[in-house]
């Protein structure tokens, strides 16, 4: 086994003896796993596909609260063709579950042709939204005919979705208003207020198990001949529950957003901290080792930056220059190095007088060589706590900026999820708990893991603490 692996194993063995450190380590590994395995854990794109209805609660709510009032996504299955009227000749070709080409010739009598899709609706709650498609391409007509789309709750009600419309020209047709419960015009057509508590979805689909027929009916006169291509005939019902963590105000899966957000948080935290530590090391080393004037100037500079209130400055800078994740990381990194520089400086000051440095100088070592080969290894142990405390500070800082609306709009970080949840719920005083709790808990856990690891490593490796025992 290679030597560095042995050292790593020993290091981990010591580290994990401390219970708090083990907890922190476990959470950290969990989040790194989330970040790396994100595409495997969820098939969806964080900013993309609408997976279900808006503001869907998580699936397991039905286990806690009981199934009444909740529903899931469901769609009407494939179509079947019926006809009535003697002397009616219907040739169907190219039939798929949602489309078919019909060539209809009628004899001496009028008749009707129906496309039928049947659904047994199993849920005890109305769907969140419905959207239906009924698109036709008509050609070769010799007489006009009438098309009508309706929804039938078997044995109870029959509701028109596309009122009987006379078709007499060769073109494409679709219902207007479209069959979409989100459309105000569609709701008004059904006799409902255009937006309100009762919308088309709960009006059409009762909150109980029932059988439904979704029917497109063509009424043709006698001596009719024509080709009707039904390019899309389907209806999708989006439910009120979905997935592990539900959906947000746009119907996007929240679990996906959390999983992909782990990447962004880790990147922000580690890169910003990298900048802070790099800067702090350089400045602290120079100030501590090169002494007097350099020290004074650098420390004054550090003090000045310490005094500036970070968040207002970040807010103002982002508001003037513009939000972008890169700027945010740079700003956060730039404001994190001061404390670390001081700690490094004081340690370097005490190291400077040690005999081994003097010996190195006597052997003719240059300043750079001494700094890199002798001073630096002795202050690496100080970086652990700073590393562990800077990362959460950067992550929470980015979350705060995002929450105030100054985050990068092209990304979805955990902070932005909280901002969107707040915006969506703030006017109705109706915050969606499944949208708010996961990102906040995620931020807290990832911060906590770094803090715990940092404190544990500090207890183990900090030479100053060790002396006291």
């Amino acid at each position: 086994m290679p030597f560095w692996l042995v050292r790593l194993k020993n290091f981990l063995a010591i580290l994990l003896k401390n219970k708090l450190a083990a907890t922190g380590f476990f959470f950290l590994v969990f989040f790194i796993f989330l970040a790396i395995a994100a595409p495997l854990l969820t098939p969806y794109n964080p900013s993309g596909s609408v997976v279900s209805g808006k503001f869907d609660a998580p699936d397991w709510v039905t286990v806690v609260n009981g199934p009444s009032g909740y529903s899931k996504n469901i769609a009407f299955p494939g179509l079947s063709i019926n006809q009535s009227g003697s002397g009616l000749n219907v040739v169907a070709s190219g039939q798929t579950p949602t489309s078919v080409n019909l060539h209809i010739v009628s004899g001496g009598q009028a008749g009707t042709v129906q496309l039928l899709e049947s659904l047994t609706y199993p849920y005890l709650g109305s769907p969140r939204s419905i959207s239906g498609l009924a698109n036709l391409v008509v050609s070769g007509l010799n007489n006009p005919f009438t098309v009508n789309v309706y929804l039938e709750r078997v044995g109870e009600a029959k509701i028109n979705l596309w009122y009987p419309t006379v078709i007499n020209a060769t073109r494409t047709y679709a219902p207007n208003p479209a069959i979409d419960s989100a459309l105000g015009a569609f709701n008004t057509q059904l006799g409902l207020p255009s937006s309100g508590v009762i919308d088309a979805a709960s009006y059409l689909f009762a909150p109980r198990a029932a059988n439904y027929n979704y029917v497109m009916q063509f009424a043709v006169p006698s001596s009719f001949s024509g080709t009707i291509k039904v390019t899309q005939f389907s209806m999708t019902l989006l439910g009120t529950t979905w997935g592990i963590l539900g959906t947000d105000s746009g119907g996007h899966d929240i679990f996906t957003q959390i999983v992909y957000g782990a990447r962004l948080s880790l990147i922000v935290g580690l890169v910003a901290t990298g900048i802070s530590i790099g800067f702090g090391l350089i400045i602290g080393l120079m100030a501590g080792y090169l002494g007097k004037i350099v020290d004074e100037v650098l420390m004054r500079f550090t003090d000045m930056l310490l005094v500036i209130p970070n968040l207002p400055l970040l807010i103002v800078l982002v508001a003037t220059i513009g939000p972008s994740l890169l700027y945010i990381i740079l700003f956060l990194g730039f404001f994190g190095w001061q404390g670390f520089a001081r700690v490094v400086r004081s340690q370097v000051l005490s190291l400077r007088e040690r005999p081994f440095i003097e010996a190195a100088k006597a052997s003719g070592a240059g300043t750079g060589y001494i700094l890199v080969r002798h001073v630096f290894p002795n202050i690496v142990s100080l970086t652990y706590v700073s590393l562990a405390l800077s990362v959460p500070a950067a992550i929470v800082g980015e979350a705060a900026l995002s929450f105030l609306g100054l985050g990068d709009p092209t990304t979805i970080t955990w902070g932005q999820m909280l901002q969107r949840a707040d915006q969506a719920g703030i006017n109705t005083a109706n915050l969606a708990w499944w949208w708010i709790i996961p990102p906040g808990v995620a931020i807290a856990l990832i911060s906590l893991s770094f803090i715990l690891l940092g404190y544990a490593m500090d207890e183990m490796f900090n030479p100053r603490l060790r002396r006291r025992r």
């Binding site: 949840a421 906040g440 911060s447 906590l448």
Partner: protein, 341 residues
């Protein structure tokens, strides 16, 4: 060194920091593209008349003079800076572009300053008291459940972002329990008339509770951990053993002997963390729609109201510098090593 010399050094430091903040404020608001002396967005605005623009250009020192056509001759950076410097020193922040009133009057007469001071004051005091008390007892019972329990809780609350705690409180206390209102300083129907004083105070407290709770929870943790650390050190000293041997009660030993000597870092840290407190206040005010300076800064960014942004940034930086100076002064007064050196 003596107290006086120390004080003078600290005052000089403060003045340098003040100058630095003024220069920085100038650099951000006057030099960055898109700001141009706080009136960039007004130049394009068709509702701003030429006379108004003319007047503002003089007030903000953007023009060193006007040519025969009345057009602005841009002032040099140095001139701009001197006008700006005088304005900042005299707290003349100009007029808010949103409301048209002066920034200072908008701050004070609308009660924003008072609201923020109230929130900050209550939160600081409660966070300090709770943090110190619990920290003292945690140090006294080191290693026991009380200690490790409170350390864990403090670490957790420090790790949680402030706004998340605020949202959770709204979720639990306003939405699910309905005990406290979800935002604002006073109920909106008070515009029509204010109830008698006793009801008024109760209702105001009701509105103050959740924001103050959020801010307090964020800050007591740091105080607790620091008090526990310094008390832990102080309790290992010999004079504590002497005090206990003398038969003094544990409470006297803890508070009159150990805490007094351990209080130095606590006090200086409390003053220094004022900067973070202001940051937390901005976020808390935004979550709870608490009409104070922080929310005003946030709204001003949305409105692109540069005089307000500039003023708020300056005032916040000023408060942080003042808090640092106060911390240094208190440090100088309490630490005998400085007085008697």
């Amino acid at each position: 060194m003596g107290f006086r010399t120390y004080l003078i050094k600290r005052l000089i430091n403060t003045v340098i920091l003040l100058l630095f903040v003024i220069v920085l404020n100038f650099a951000i608001f006057e030099l960055l593209p898109g700001t141009q002396g706080s009136i960039a967005n007004l130049i394009q605005n068709p509702r701003v008349s030429d006379v108004q623009l003319h007047h503002l250009e003089i007030v903000y020192g953007i023009c060193s003079g006007f040519d025969s056509a009345g057009k602005c001759i841009p002032a040099s950076v140095w001139d701009k800076f001197s006008v700006y410097f005088v304005r900042m020193i005299t707290f003349n922040f100009g007029d808010s572009q949103q409301t048209g009133h002066s920034v200072v009057s908008d701050m004070i007469t609308t009660g924003r300053l008072a609201n923020t001071l109230l929130l900050l004051g209550v939160s600081t005091v409660v966070a300090l008291v709770i943090g110190i008390f619990l920290g003292v007892f945690a140090a006294a019972k080191r290693g026991r459940i009380f200690d490790s329990g409170w350390v864990t809780v403090s670490l957790t609350t420090t790790a949680l972002p402030t706004f998340f705690m605020g949202l959770i409180f709204i979720l639990v206390f306003t939405q699910w329990l309905g005990w406290f209102p979800g935002g604002g300083v006073t109920p909106s129907d008070w515009i029509r008339g204010v109830p008698p004083l006793s009801t008024q105070i109760l209702v105001r407290l009701q509105y103050l509770f959740l924001p103050a709770l959020t801010l307090t929870l964020f800050f007591y943790g740091g105080n607790l951990l620091l008090t526990r650390a310094t008390m832990g050190e102080a309790l290992t000293e010999d004079y504590i053993t002497t005090a206990r041997a003398k038969g003094l009660s544990e409470r006297t030993v803890l508070f009159k002997h150990a805490l007094k000597n351990a209080s130095l870092p606590i006090v200086t840290n409390a003053a220094l963390s004022f900067g973070f407190l202001l940051t937390g206040a901005i976020i808390t005010e935004t979550v709870f729609n608490w009409d104070g300076l922080g929310l005003w800064l946030f709204k001003a960014i949305g409105w692109k109201d540069f005089p307000v942004m500039q003023a708020m940034f300056f005032i916040i930086a000023l408060c942080v510098i003042a808090a640092n100076l106060a911390s240094d002064i208190i440090y100088g007064m309490i630490d005998p090593r400085i007085k008697y050196e």
